[in-house]
Symmetry: C2
Subunit: 348 residues, 2 copies
């Protein structure tokens, strides 16, 4: 009796080949095919070869839906993020993607558009329903929504800080970075340092501002009024115009590089030179920040490390669900000195 045409193979033609089809072609049972597909050891080499070549002939790919159904795991990590257009988020995402891929997971990404609680909630619902083994949430604002919660007991890791510490988180050490930036300017002899903050609803922005404030206090420097922008060059420019008009501003720490860029343009238009008249420090260290005019002194974030740690933490939670997850991991940023800072103008 010919075995090459089992019932499964005969059933339908343009349907992806199943284990049963491979089994029929190889003249074995589908369980043996399963063993081969999963690289089990207890298969006769000769049998394995027959199965493997049958797989190749048929172009067999295992059906992840069926697999997920029986295993109860999906080999998929969910990522919720605002605005991948922001460099920081994009780089964190890229790093997460790399780390996930190395671990054999793929990524289900949802970019939340509106910063409304409902939008976030829907994204999470979609993701957990779409079957993920764990969730990375990039950007803490998302968690500020009081309604945010993950119903289904899916492990969660937060990148970029979780103000209420409800979840394990991985984050750049914002405080260390902001303090380094502020002290650097103070050390250059500036009487004080102004701060151009990020959006007020960003936890990262708030922590940078707080650390700037603390550094000023610690140094006994006066604390100038604080203004919040929204991470864009446009808002850096808008607020920058006000700062440029004040002659007592000689040093500004901007909460990110784009804000710094807008600020520099505003200063330039007002006839105030950077760094001769005003020193500027950014935050992020975008690849292009070294090519701004002048090249920007800034705080470099190690997004790669943040992404890698997120995935590592998540996998740990997934693989040993019992254990209480590690608390927070802080990744230390690094001050990169370039040409946008200089000693305070002597005068006065």
């Amino acid at each position: 009796m010919e075995k090459t045409e089992g019932p499964a193979a005969a059933r339908g033609r343009n349907r992806p080949p199943s284990q049963a089809d491979v089994a029929a072609l190889a003249g074995v049972s589908s369980q043996t095919v399963s063993r081969v597909a999963n690289n089990r050891s207890n298969v006769e080499p000769e049998t394995r070869d027959r199965v493997l070549s049958a797989m190749r002939i048929l172009g067999y790919q295992r059906n992840s839906a069926a697999r997920a159904l029986t295993l109860g795991r999906f080999q998929v990590l969910g990522v919720v993020t605002f605005d991948v257009t922001a460099q920081g988020n994009a780089r964190t995402l890229a790093a997460i993607s790399r780390a996930a891929q190395r671990a054999g997971y793929s990524l289900n990404v949802v970019c939340v558009e509106d910063q409304t609680e409902e939008a976030v909630q829907q994204a999470v619902r979609q993701l957990t329903e779409q079957a993920v083994d764990g969730l990375v949430v990039i950007e803490a604002q998302i968690l500020d929504r009081p309604g945010f919660n993950v119903s289904s007991g899916v492990p969660v890791v937060v990148a970029d800080g979780d103000p209420e510490r409800r979840f394990p988180s991985v984050d750049t050490d914002q405080a260390a970075g902001a303090a380094a930036a502020t002290r650097h300017l103070l050390d250059l002899g500036h009487r004080t340092v102004w701060h151009l903050g990020g959006p007020q609803d960003s936890y990262a922005a708030r922590r940078r501002a707080a650390a700037w404030h603390a550094a000023l206090k610690a140094a006994g420097a006066p604390v100038p009024p604080l203004r919040f922008g929204d991470w864009t060059a446009a808002s850096g420019y808008g607020i920058g115009r006000e700062l440029a008009a004040r002659p007592d501003v000689t040093a500004v720490f901007a909460a990110n590089d784009h804000l710094a860029l807008g600020l520099v343009r505003a200063l330039h238009e007002a006839g105030r030179r950077v760094p001769e008249d005003v020193s500027v420090v950014g935050f992020d260290d975008l690849p292009e920040s070294a090519y701004y005019l002048p090249p920007l002194t800034t705080v470099r974030q190690d997004f790669e490390e943040v992404g890698r740690e997120c995935v590592a933490q998540l996998l740990r939670q997934i693989e040993s669900p019992g254990e209480s997850p590690t608390a927070s991991v802080a990744v230390t940023p690094e001050l990169v000195l370039r040409a946008s800072t200089a000693p305070a103008p002597t005068a006065r």
Copy 2:
């Protein structure tokens, strides 16, 4: 007889509730639960309410793996991309995400790190195996790998051009943008326009270069040698230093805004003013390009539209598999005039 504790509910405790659990609690069969979950009309309102409240009590979420298994569809779109860190890719991705979400699909994203054929192939394999209903490939280079093919008959759309037209594609009209940039500079009285190209293996970069070349020819302008960079400000700076050394360079069209940024810095360092001595045009229109010094004249790409069209095309293919897919869609970019271009220096 109490129905609230059916066999299914008793079987295991910390397993997500299934239809059977809901059915047991509501005192109906699981098929009825299915009907309610899928919003079918043929359910008695009173029954539906009972089921709905049972769902709420149990926190029921439907199991997408099982659903996908029976339906043969996953409600997931795969995205393959190089480097989300590149603004263009990130913005396309964001747009795709939005469009997909609106259509009720989620996104399985793979960022390919190395530009090797193997890496790409593996990404595609992972994605098709991970069960996607369709595939968007961002950045044409991926397709240049001769080995690239999608085995499993999954619909594919290419964003950013498909040189060999093997797949339907959606793309910015690179030629129109590059021609507009070149003509703009020519119209300002420059004898000719130099081009600072993107990476040679990028189809978009090649098309921009070709259109620049054609525009010069059409205008009877001499064609200066062409140099290829790699999209980064760093390479713009490197090549920019060479260009800055040549006094006959008075107008440069850079293949993207980051290249233009590096170029401007190089010109600045060489003491050549932009736009008084040299005019520069970029490509992309990043949000921060308006805040460069000087604000950059550039070609604005409508990434939003590209993403939206990709998803639309893909869904069309998915929903009516028979039809031959539409060929290519071109999205027209727009020249944005700012302060980095000026009439050719009179002299000579």
